[in-house]
Amino acid sequence: MDGINSSNVVELRNITVQFENDVILDNLSLSIRDKEFVTLLGPSGCGKTTTLRLIAGFLEPNSGEILFDGVDVKNVPAHKRPVNTIFQRYALFPNYNVYDNIAFGLKVAKVPKDDIARRVDEMLELVNLKGFEKRPVQKLSGGQQQRVAIARAAINNPKVLLLDEPLAALDLKLRKDMQSELKAMQRRLGITFVFVTHDQEEALSMSDTIVVMDNGKIQQIGSPTDIYNEPKNAFVADFIGESNIIDGVMLKDRLVRFHNRTLECVDSGFAPNEPVDVVIRPEDVDIVHPDKGLVCGTVTSVTFKGVHYEIIIDVDGFKWMVQTTDESKVNDYVGLSIEPDAIHIMKRSEYSGTMGDYSYFSDEMEEISNPDFGSEETEDEKVD
């Protein structure tokens, strides 16, 4: 085992998963370090659940290798892999009560009865379900079922815990609480979590590393702050948080031209006059008097969001989103003020020009009106 890979508990190398002509994962490579909280983030159909199922062993790749601690697990079936999964709809066994669900893995492994009792007890304590041992799982609330699912997986001391959108079925409040609980649990257990979600806020608040995926490819890997502040392309910028993405030209280092204005920025390393995507986060824009604005436009909509107002401003036909605590009125002519360090420059990508203008609905909104667009679940079933 070479030194570089020694801390990689799971490694995917050049994985391709294909169903007939549908490419689900396209030459994907990913390393997951020990004790890391990794989130696979992307819209439905991006291949994140497929990636999880590959690691679990429910699915074989068409090509590529999966390594656990540097060893190829091609011939290791799901039941022999040192990973456990928390399923999207929990998949608790309806024929067993809470105790027997949690004890299931240990019973299969023929652990002595006393040991099982002690460890189930510890787990019940960990997930705050003491006294629920004899309860049938169908009689539990969604949040309680969730905890049983966590306990049932974690009791087997897996090297890696795989979580497939485990919070998707919970109410907003409970989901927030479970986010911090899961994060705390990961630290306490000291194991690797691979967490799948389409919720960018969830990903940002829980992860050590976020893997942003789309169309079966990894778009960016990085820490939450990296991903948010330094998105690699228009897809990442648009998917993580809100972004205004404007066509621009990098005149030279630290000087960019867009909206027919030349502005200072902090990025460098581009070719002279290279066409680029300019990203400006809505919270980094200030609304000022037109005389003081770098660019000016007309307010077309104002939405109160609680903490701030979300204001859409039409600048020469491009619609900006601005988040600010100052109220504006529709049809006001205003100026936008942007600090140089709020301007982030990205290389052009296949996504350029398709997102980041608030004239339209999001892709997701369009997808749900498209009868040909399949959900990720149906794609996974096809792969099976």
Binding site: A56, A78, H79, T85, R89, F93, P94, G105, V108, A109
Partner: protein, 273 residues
Amino acid sequence: MKKSTNALLNAPYAVWAAIFVVVPLFIVLIYAFTDGEGNFSFANILALKDYWYNFLLSLLYSLIATVITLLIAYPFAYALSKTAEKTQRIQMMLVMLPMWMNLLIRTYSWMNILDKNGVINQILTAMHLPTGEFLGTPGAVIFGMVYNYLPYMILPIYTVMAKMDPALIEAARDLGCNGFNVWRRLVLPLSMPGVISGITMVFVPSVSTFYISQKLGNGKIMLIGDTIERQMQMLNNYNLGAALSLVLMILILVSMFIMNRFADKNGEGGMIV
């Protein structure tokens, strides 16, 4: 308001059940405890002891038939539930197809096939192989039961298998179960309600059949159904026939009760009783 609506919806069946289920049961009871003149009598009950052999035979044959049907139906239903949806529809159609034909016609067909000069022996003769005597053997009767009642076993087992969430099976594999353990710890207990329904639906008609044993048994094998039919049709002894029917009903009731006990242990109720 809602209660009265339910009562109203329920009324037609309640009336139906009263006229065609409860009243006939009483008539059977009255016949069983009276003689030919309508006087109260224990004679029929006392005469039952002469028929213990037929009861035993019926129980034995139907038990064997039920076990064979289960052994055929269970793996078939399990495998079928794993195939593509289209295959499942076509296969289930093929399973149900013979049921669209009348039981009598099906059994007559089998008589023709199994007969001394029937299809099987004709083929054997054509191949210069020794022919056999099939009709009138216990094997033929049990075969008839299995053939006729197999769909009733497949259907309920297949239904529970098809409904089973595939994520449960993945969860079991994820928690360390190999193929056999997945079946033993998860699929088997979850499929028990279907198995219980199937056993009920095969055992009850098998234990009371008279037609299959009469035709395929060639009159040589007298099951309890044949005995009852003989009392009713040929000897016109409705009283003894009723007493035998009564015992058969009690026998079935007890069997169902035992089955359900067994089912409850697995945490899921069966059907009936």
